[in-house]
Symmetry: C2
Subunit: 637 residues, 2 copies
């Protein structure tokens, strides 16, 4: 692997406008429903009140759980993610009421900062003596990380520097407290987040000390003597009594450069790997990037669900063992899929490569999007691949990390879709949009017209003030066979580099590309070691993974068998859930009418033809409650 550098920079959020189409609708619902809904839930749950100077916590808010902490310790992060979502949304969609609400809240947040730069409502008001006492569990730096990201987005959206400046002061305090110098603590946060946030703060401010602090946190992690051991002893606790049992849980079991397999809590893992990828590409650190790539390969070839979800188990909210991908009990936390998208975006900075771009697309369109109801006001925390009808989206959670995280990632889709360097404009995602990127100091406009992901026809129109030579790199998804391209009406051979079609030329205004990505229905099979998918198929069309829901079927879903040669069609159903392409075909169903009073018998069940109808996974549980399956038994009569 050659020494990487940070070649591609994601599009500025202000420069991508998504007006209609699939993501236009999702963003509109996000603006009009999710962002207000999350705000009202933050308010109702007391999280906004915590930023009032005169906050009087209730007894419940003071109470600690058996593990020695309280979810109130993370409240700041929930609010911060909402601030970030609102700020991102405002960049392209001005909204005076939202802007006013945001300004008032940001003012409160900034006013909550302590004179020394410290900012955390819990440890300021409820437990001042607890400051920095338990980095392993108490999320202080994680919360500040989210506040930093919020401040960066707020600055981009409004130009206001008060919040950004406040968070720079917070980062300065942290850099005084933590580090390898004399009198400093060699700590780092149990929940990675501040590492990637500090990089964004460096990008926004240009202050290299923030980058250095991020580098310190990443490099210090997992070293011996172990900070969490020492910290636990300072609290009078035996380190080996750590409730999560292993430091794998928070990825501090080894120094990060010695970590070659993904492990532990999935959100923590992918946030850490995101920061590692950033640092590797900023520093030109080939070994670190190769480490990231090894982790990426391990994740995507052994521990990722077919719809892009990661983190198998609810016990550690994280990884278990290779190929352990059960369906009903899949945890696949929404935040973990979001974290995977963020990691993929950062890996793509090394240059266009569909190993990352395809996973970004997969996770975003399936495991992330399933996290929010189509009406935008209820959410999945965990995203199983099979349900017997008792798993439903909820309007809120005791630990509501996912809803505001969904709000910010949906608002930020534009910056995931495009990235640029001096000589390259990369299109990672297909969606109806207008983007403007600066290449060689010149604005390049790209208009994308498509009804993707429902259809694979994409028209890209370049806008330049004067002709400009650069490479347009278009991701040709790994799921696609037979992609074709026309340039100004002329068939164009596909020149693929790492799965991206590179079109290098001097572009003129109004040059037009027509990309056709055929989207037949495809059956997917899992590696034979994936027990939960043995003998089963999943259905995919384009970037979307499909599932079957009970209400569309006359027979129990487990009675369905899809013959290997059954034809499957895809058609737009405009009447369903605002319009979805559904997959239909004829399956077989085991009949139970000839099993009178019989539980076991030597003759196989008889089968009968039955209609099969599959809908996109992200859209399940938006109609009548019932069972759902992603993996369908394959087999004939």
């Amino acid at each position: 692997m050659s020494v990487p550098t940070r070649r591609l920079v994601p599009a500025d959020l202000r420069a991508v406008v998504i007006e209609d189409g699939f993501w236009g609708t999702r963003q509109q619902i996000n603006r009009e429903h999710t962002i207000p809904h999350v705000y009202s839930q933050l308010e109702a749950s007391g999280r906004l009140a915590a930023f009032a100077r005169d906050w009087q916590p209730t007894a419940a808010e003071r109470e600690r759980a058996a593990w020695g902490g309280s979810t109130v310790m993370f409240w700041d992060s929930d609010v911060a993610k909402w601030v970030e979502a609102a700020a991102i949304s405002l960049t392209c969609h001005p909204d005076a009421a939202l802007a006013a609400r945001l300004a008032a809240l940001v003012e409160q947040i900034v006013a909550r900062q302590e004179p020394d730069g410290y900012l955390n409502t819990y440890f300021t008001t409820i437990d001042p003596a607890g400051r920095w006492a338990n980095l392993r569990d108490w999320h202080e730096l994680y919360c500040i990380g989210h506040l930093i990201e919020a401040a960066v987005a707020h600055h981009q959206a409004t130009g206001d520097t008060a919040f950004l400046g406040a968070m720079q002061r917070a980062a300065t305090l942290i850099a005084e407290v933590f580090g390898t110098g004399p009198g400093q603590r060699r700590g780092y946060c149990g929940h990675p987040e501040i590492e990637l946030a500090l990089i964004r703060l460096w990008q926004a401010s240009g202050d290299a000390r923030h980058l250095a602090l991020s580098r310190y946190f990443v490099d210090e992690r997992g070293r011996q003597p172990h900070y969490y051991d020492e910290e636990a002893r300072r609290r009078g606790e035996a380190p080996e009594r750590f409730w999560a049992r292993s430091y794998e849980y928070n990825q501090s079991h080894l120094p990060v450069r010695q970590q070659h397999t993904v492990a532990g809590h999935a959100v923590r893992a992918a946030y850490l790997y995101s920061a590692m990828a950033d640092l590797a590409l900023i520093d030109g650190d080939a070994a670190l990037f190769e480490g990231c790539d090894t982790l990426w390969r391990h994740l995507t070839t052994t521990r990722m669900y077919v719809m892009g979800g990661i983190g198998t188990s609810r016990h550690n909210e994280g990884f278990t063992s290779d190929y352990d991908l059960p369906n009903e009990s899949a945890y696949a936390e929404t935040c973990a899929a979001i974290a995977l998208v963020l990691w993929a975006q950062r890996m793509l900075a090394a240059g266009p490569d569909r190993r990352y771009g395809d996973v970004l697309e997969l996770a975003l369109h399936n495991a992330v999007l399933s996290g929010v109801a189509l009406d935008g006001t209820s959410y999945f925390y965990d995203n199983p691949l099979a349900s017997d009808g008792d798993h439903h989206r909820q309007p809120w959670f005791a630990c509501p990390c996912c809803p505001p995280n969904l709000a910010r990632i949906i608002a930020a889709v534009g910056s995931l879709a495009y990235a640029g360097s001096d000589d390259t404009l990369a299109v990672h995602l297909y969606l109806a949009s207008h983007a403007t990127l600066l290449l060689q100091g010149q604005a390049v406009r790209l208009r994308q017209q498509t009804s993707y992901p429902w259809d694979g026809a994409i028209t890209l129109t370049v806008g330049v003030d004067t002709p400009l030579a650069f490479t347009l790199a278009l991701r040709i998804p790994g799921w696609c066979e037979g992609a074709s391209l026309r340039l100004n009406g002329m068939e164009q051979p596909l020149e693929l580099h790492n799965g991206y079609a590179h079109i290098h030329r001097t572009w003129h205004d109004a040059d037009q590309l027509q990309l056709a990505l055929p989207m037949p229905v495809t059956r997917l099979y899992a590696h034979p070691a994936v027990r939960a998918a043995a003998g089963r198929v999943a259905l995919r069309r384009g970037p979307l993974i499909y599932c079957v829901e009970q209400l569309d079927h006359q027979v129990p879903l487990d009675a369905l068998r899809l013959p290997a040669d059954a034809a499957l069609d895809a058609n737009l159903d405009t009447t369903m859930l605002g319009g979805m392409v559904v997959i239909t075909g004829t399956a077989l169903a085991c009949r139970s009418d000839d099993w009178p009073d019989t539980l076991y018998r030597p003759t196989p069940p008889r089968v009968a033809a039955t209609p099969l109808r599959a809908i996109p996974y992200f859209a399940w549980d938006n109609r009548q409650s019932g069972a759902m399956r992603v993996w369908i038994s394959e087999g004939g009569p």
Copy 2:
């Protein structure tokens, strides 16, 4: 359904000798290893010391768990089951050392009885005020029930009446305390057992008051106002805070005659149903027997595992919903399978009927026998139908109900095999043995020669002192096609009544029957509503259910697919585990060598032929640790 009466009486334990063959070996190991091993565990765990007058319980023994009780409350039952096992074993296999040990223990037990007849070590020594305070949870009557069964067996084995008399006095006390008369409590035990024990006490003593008390307990159960509600209020507890949440748990949610579906804790259920069956047939109560049969039908057609295990869930140690029969998480407690055998035995008293006899055979040879290692000194509490290699027999348990229960049921197999009435001698089980039953006051000897269950050839030789007319009823198992019978060498047509071949004639001494029960390997399919078996087959040969173990296979068990047309052979492997018939054939295995760095792909896994080897389910986990599956995927390339 015609009015039933108790037609068949199980053979007296003293009258069946099992010297060799399959069950001879099991009984020998039971005598030589299990019974001594359980005794030493009872001793080491403090359970024998509890019968000493001067028992000083430890702090741990005094401690109560969160549910308000302690397993020490049930200690007496563990000891009682050992006494019963030892006594049964002594009936046919004199053993002076065991007899002395038994006599000493029985003397201690009797000496522990209070002057008023009460007998319970916990509530005498640890919590005298707790006597009768919590029938719902505290198992007092259950423990006394097991002591009654022990006393009956002890009396049969030794002729000694001291223990039997003590338990009659205990029953007399209970009949004073509980009942519908003035000043009596309308209670009954949360764990049924005393009901069936009192019937045995009536049979042994002839005292009809014990039968009446059993009838009272059965009839009172589940009536309103609910005794457990009132009892909880007396303890100052809110009845609705019952930890098990529903009275279904202990089958007191409804009066027993209104219970039409099996529910709750499986051992409790089948012990209760056993007593109900006994009472129905003793009293000629057709409605009650029909109720039992409805429960039987419900259990065996919707909630019984293919190997005869019952009780799906570890949460209630019992039943869940119809067709909910998961494999890995199957609870299928050993004691529940034993209880099912006891229930089947009692249903058979209505007359030979293979609906009961087949289940008796199935549960005994599979779900019960799997509970004990082949060396007799470690035990399964729960019996899953699939394991990833982490489920192993244990030498003991905190709640060791299963080991002594196994010891007594294996010792008692003779009484399960034969039953008689004045005009009928029924053979329920095939096993090498000598039995003597009294028909019309005359001793009829039956010698059975067979290597069943490994082979279906059975020779039965009748011994009578003078010719005697009666019906010999031989169970022709439902799993068997093409059974044939010869009488003194002459082909005999099979005249089946409820699945038993009835041979009515005047029998002469040395008359010989040769029964041939063909045992091809059979594939079993589950009702299509059994999700966990969809697309899978189980292998059966004769009465034995088979399974595959990882150590016999080169490929992961979930990669195995058995083509629908694959030939399967059965051969005796004399080298394995003392000699077992194993099933062999050629299956297909999904290959994973052509999945480099790929987790999902559009082409199905390639398959390759691989040898398949299945061993009897009861014998699994007796070699190297590893995965196991009962249900194997069926399907071709």
